[in-house]
Amino acid sequence: MSVLADSPLVLVGWDYRQTPVELRERLAFSPDKVREALAALRQEGLLSEGVILSTCNRSEVYGLTGSGLEGRDPIYALTEFLSRFHGVPHEDIESAGYRFRGTDAVRHLLRVAAGLESLALGEDQIIGQVREAFRLASGAGATRAVLHRLFQKALETGKRVRSETGLSSRPISIPGVAIELAQKIFEDLAPRKFLILGAGETSSIFYDLLLARGARNIEVVNRTLARSEELCRRGGKAYPWEELAARLPHADVVISATSATTHVLSKETAQKALAERRGQPLFFLDLGIPRNVEPSVGELEDAFLYAVDDLQEIAERNRQERHNEIGPAMAILEEEIDKFFSWFGALAVTPTLTALRQKFETIREAEFDQRLNQLTHIPEGDREKIRLMAQSMVRCLLRNPTDAIKDEPDPGRRLDRAEVARHLFGLDVRGE
């Protein structure tokens, strides 16, 4: 691509890889600070468009260079601004993070949106954070044609990578794996009945997770009733330990996370429960160490038993599988980068003005010359004069829009005007 070293698209950023958490904390932006920084960047003419992405793992400023740089290197000007804005010594900022321009900046944003730059490869949260950063910048009036298009592209690409590759399809956390397994037995977990054994930290994590997933029937059985009642304060029912065998046949999923040193659920108890369930499956998640559920329960028909080691092994395998999907994800990214730059290249001033002139000339030839040829009574000499007149008229009509685009000092506004001209005169050839 031609838009490289002198590209008006710039990015400066600091993430968990290169930057210690202390510095990241100082470079973080609250939503108000984002608005304030974007306003100042545009006011000083450093950027004509800008988006700030600030999460716990990264702070990044994306922008289209402005007209107030006065020959300064835009990246240096940006880091210098951020140093002033955050009150962090410039040398500290300069020594960490990354800076990209043109294709590299676009590639980085698309990688971020796809989850390729995340701590947990392929995680989903980042796409929401990119969307929020874009929304915030748009709300502050800091995005126009280019960044609007770029961030839309990033969000689309993030979605495409997630749907067309296995980068995010398999969970890599233990609760995530447990939920995925349960959902392969019972598709909709919300109406299912859950029985949690124990009321400790792990039980509490799963209780919250189930509530977040919309589970409506949660029962907790614990040796100390008061603790299970405490856990059930946001919904669900607490039962004393003695009720375990009686509650078991009513459950679809049993999550056991007690600190007992022996099995609390025997094969015999499970067998009785399954007999009462008349063929309905029962999913046991044994998260206890040592194991709470007798391993032979897994041999029973209609019983599915997974212990914490099994979940860990699956999570690790899924992590490896996600790494294998980086190649296909990058292929999608490169395709989308090409599409973006074919639009961006067409948006550049010279191709737009050439296309505009060609369009007018085509109309002149089609509408004027052809009709003139039909008027045979006009002598050839006069016809030539009329033709020259038409050409001169086209030049006059084009002068104002051409100057308005060409002479705009702010690069962002210049591209904006080119985009408007392409839109108004139907010049779009975007290859998409």
């Binding site: 067309e164 392969k184 007999a275 063929g279 309905q280 209609d302 296909p328």
Partner: protein, 276 residues
């Protein structure tokens, strides 16, 4: 008509090629969840389905009867109904991942039909079998068999998914196949349609047999009732106290009985259902 370029045989060959292409895209869609592969699968299937219908229509028009009075024609119609059932399943349950396993049934039967019909001309041998009662009997029977074929595929998928969950081998199929309870639900829908259609077909067949043969009795009738009984059991798992795995295995047994009835009984035992 039969030998023209756009005759039933040529159209059936085009249909076969379209089914093959649809199968390719559906496998690709299963492997990589790319929406364009899914759209290509459904588009090709729809096109094949329409052309297949046209081929059946031309065949029927040529002999002025329903297009399943001989074995090749019945196999072609069966393939068409399998795709119809799959379409209903996709529209009703929004579940298309079973495509790669269902389309081969249609492919198999259409391919066999084309091979059995090489150079053959369809001829109606008896005016009795061109009446509306006979037509409805055969149509409902084939709809029933097609739905039960679908239930066979779903039962197999249930067993595969069940095995994967138990063995902790959670590969591509695990993530792309539906949950066990969804497969059970789909299976149940297919069995209900299959058993209902087969029951209607049997009753109509009995009436037709009484009128034309003077008797209800045919060995095929016994087999059909046995098949219906097997499938009826799969609809009452709680009454049996059976889990999904046993029900799926019973369903597979039912399908084996269908295959036996459709091949051995039709060809060698029952004179009334032999297409001779």
């Amino acid at each position: 008509m039969m030998n023209s370029m756009w005759g039933p045989t040529s159209l059936s060959i085009i249909t076969l090629l379209l089914y093959i292409a649809a199968e390719g895209f559906s496998i690709a869609h299963l492997r990589r969840n790319k929406p364009s592969y899914g759209k290509a699968t459904y588009g090709l299937l729809l096109l094949a389905f329409v052309i297949h219908w046209f081929a059946l229509y031309l065949g029927a028009k040529a002999v002025r009867a329903v297009p399943y009075h001989d074995l090749p024609a019945s196999m072609s119609f069966f393939a068409w109904v399998v795709i119809l059932s799959y379409g209903i399943l996709v529209l009703r349950h929004r579940e298309g991942t079973t495509g790669p396993f269902v389309i081969p049934i249609a492919l198999l039967f259409l391919g066999a039909s084309l091979m059995a019909n090489q150079g053959g001309q369809m001829v109606i041998k008896s005016p009795k079998i061109s009446g509306p009662l006979f037509a409805t009997h055969v149509t409902t029977a084939l709809i029933g068999y097609a739905a039960l074929s679908l239930s066979f595929v779903l039962a197999q998928l249930y067993l595969i998914q069940n095995k994967q969950i138990r063995s902790r081998k959670l590969g591509v199929l695990f993530s792309r196949l539906p949950a066990l309870d969804v497969l059970s639900r789909l299976h149940r829908t297919a069995v209900i349609i299959g058993v209902s259609a087969l029951t209607v077909a049997s009753v109509l067949g009995l009436i037709w047999a009484k009128i034309n043969w003077g008797t209800f009795w045919d060995i095929k009738v016994l087999f059909t009732f046995l098949i219906i009984a097997i499938y009826l059991f799969t609809l009452f798992p709680r009454w049996l106290g059976w889990g999904g795995k046993k029900i799926a295995m019973l369903s597979v047994t039912g399908f084996m009985a269908i295959l036996f009835s459709y091949t051995i009984v039709n060809l060698f035992i029952s004179h009334g259902h032999s297409f001779r």
